[in-house]
């Protein structure tokens, strides 16, 4: 009996632990067995290649990580030509491809191209990156746009359609409902919060883009609050993330209403964190004689 079986929209997962888009690569499978993951989410791709933001792109604060990668990626064509075949080859767990666009048409073009490809279980629609001008967050802040976008994409695929939401909005529940109404089969949240750090000695921004993305332990309470708010507002399942380092952290998110969780920044503090979390959850549920699904959303 797999006490950790999870369902995310149209997918049945062997493990409720996934990886956060942009933070992971198959390089880590040298260190642990990929079967601990229920899902592999690719780095976000865009229609054209993006070189990303100038350095410095990273800074560790007292309680998390700032980044301004800027969606560096080789573009759709190179992804399909080079990266996807390699991932298909290596992966034994379902692949979700994350993508973003500067217009609804761009999103549609990418989805249509990926629909022709085998070996992927679905999509994560990134409308929430704080580190680029046109793609990403501009899309994710307006419920009407999210509805229109999701609706277009949902008509074009039978695969899992995850919409990834930004925490930097007044009412995440309204945006989640727009995605649900548009036909998203699940939601992912949260992308990074706005963050900034300055070298007090020189007055220089620590990152080339002053306002950038903030992840890691400092954002966990926020991610948990927004997971809870969203779970109260929609029926589709949530892939939750934001500062999850331990299996205890993961449990908090399940209680708040997450169907599955993803690990990002924690990997940079312990490359085995995803495996460790999976193992801890398994032992805990075993000891309690419960299945994970029994506790989802039962916070009191």
């Amino acid at each position: 009996m797999n006490r950790l079986a999870a369902s995310l929209g149209r997918m049945e997962l062997q493990s409720p632990v996934a990886v956060a888009s942009g933070t992971f690569g198959t390089e880590y499978f040298d260190l642990f067995d990929q079967s601990v993951l229920g899902l592999y989410v690719s780095k976000t791709i865009t229609l054209q290649a993006r070189t990303g933001n100038p350095p410095p792109r990273l800074y560790e604060t007292e309680a998390g990580l700032l980044n301004a990668i800027g969606l560096q990626n080789p573009g759709l064509e190179a992804f399909i030509g080079e990266e996807l075949p390699r991932l298909r080859e290596v992966l034994k767990v379902p692949l979700i491809v994350s993508f973003s666009g500067a217009s609804i048409d761009e999103f549609v073009q990418i989805l249509l191209a990926l629909e022709k490809e085998e070996g992927l279980a679905g999509y994560e629609v990134n409308v929430s990156c704080p580190n680029v001008e046109k793609e990403g967050i501009a899309f994710g802040a307006d419920p009407d746009v999210v509805y229109a976008l999701t609706r277009r994409l949902a008509e074009l695929t039978q695969r899992e359609l995850i919409v990834k939401l930004s925490p930097n909005v007044t009412d995440i529940a309204a945006i989640a409902q727009a995605a649900e109404a548009g036909g998203a089969s699940s939601l992912a949240l949260i992308n990074t919060l706005y963050g900034m750090a300055i070298d007090w000695n020189t007055g220089k921004s620590r990152i080339s883009r002053p306002v950038c993305g903030y992840s890691g332990i400092g954002i966990k309470p926020v991610a948990l609050a927004l997971t809870y708010k969203t779970a109260q507002a929609v029926r589709i399942p949530i892939l939750a993330m934001g500062g999850i380092h331990s299996w205890q952290d993961a449990l908090e998110f399940f209680y708040a209403g997450a169907a599955a969780i993803a690990v990002g920044t924690a990997l940079y503090c312990d490359p085995l964190s995803a495996a460790r979390i999976m193992q801890g959850l398994r032992e805990h549920m075993e000891a309690r004689g419960l299945s994970l699904k029994q506790i989802i959303g039962t916070v009191s």
Partner: protein, 246 residues
Amino acid sequence: MIRYLTLPVHRSESIGGNYCLLAVRDAGLAALCRPGMFFELKSGAAGQDRRLFKPVSIYKVQSDEIAFLIKVLGPGTQALQVLEPGAPLKLLGPLGNAFQLVKDSRVLLVSGGVGYPPLAYLRDKLDASNEFTFLHGGNCRDDVFPCDDVWTVDGSSGRQGLVTEGAVQLIRDKGINVVYSCGPLPMLKALAQIVGPILHYVSLEAYMACGVGVCHGCAVPVGEGYQRVCKEGPVFDASLIRWGEL
């Protein structure tokens, strides 16, 4: 092949004002090391488990011992400094590419400050067919380590001035045909100017998160676009670096 291990610190020494030396022993790991490579290191102490690893070059490999020479700057390196022999050190690596090893060449090695360790390791592994000179510079005598010619900004050790002045002389006088360098950015920029068209391998630093090439955080402007210090680097052909953007 990247490995992730927690090893007891074998040696731990305070050096000069602000440096420390840490060494671990592991024959398998030692066999994987090459000059130019680095490890992501982290103290295994409680309270560090939600902090990042810090990139540190391999300084010395002697039989099964791997040593690191670390300048204490902020929280990550402070946590490393306080490790006593026997305390747990987490290592992810070895990471990055390595220096191209030349033969039958007139080689110049130039390091500044905390750029010393990878060049010291490289010197030990340079083929005997090469003729070489190792210049090292620092702000003051605290930053000085064994080499052929030492420069300090304040003149407290070796010759007074910038190590790049020494490089100018040697390149002019000795017909140098390969340069290896590592150090602070202003030094590297000046050196790249001075070295000009001569073959020049430079080891760059960048703030890192993953260390294994997945996060694209350690990008530097090389060729068109950016390359990752942790994966395509840390050693780059200096002529491909867009120095103006650094």
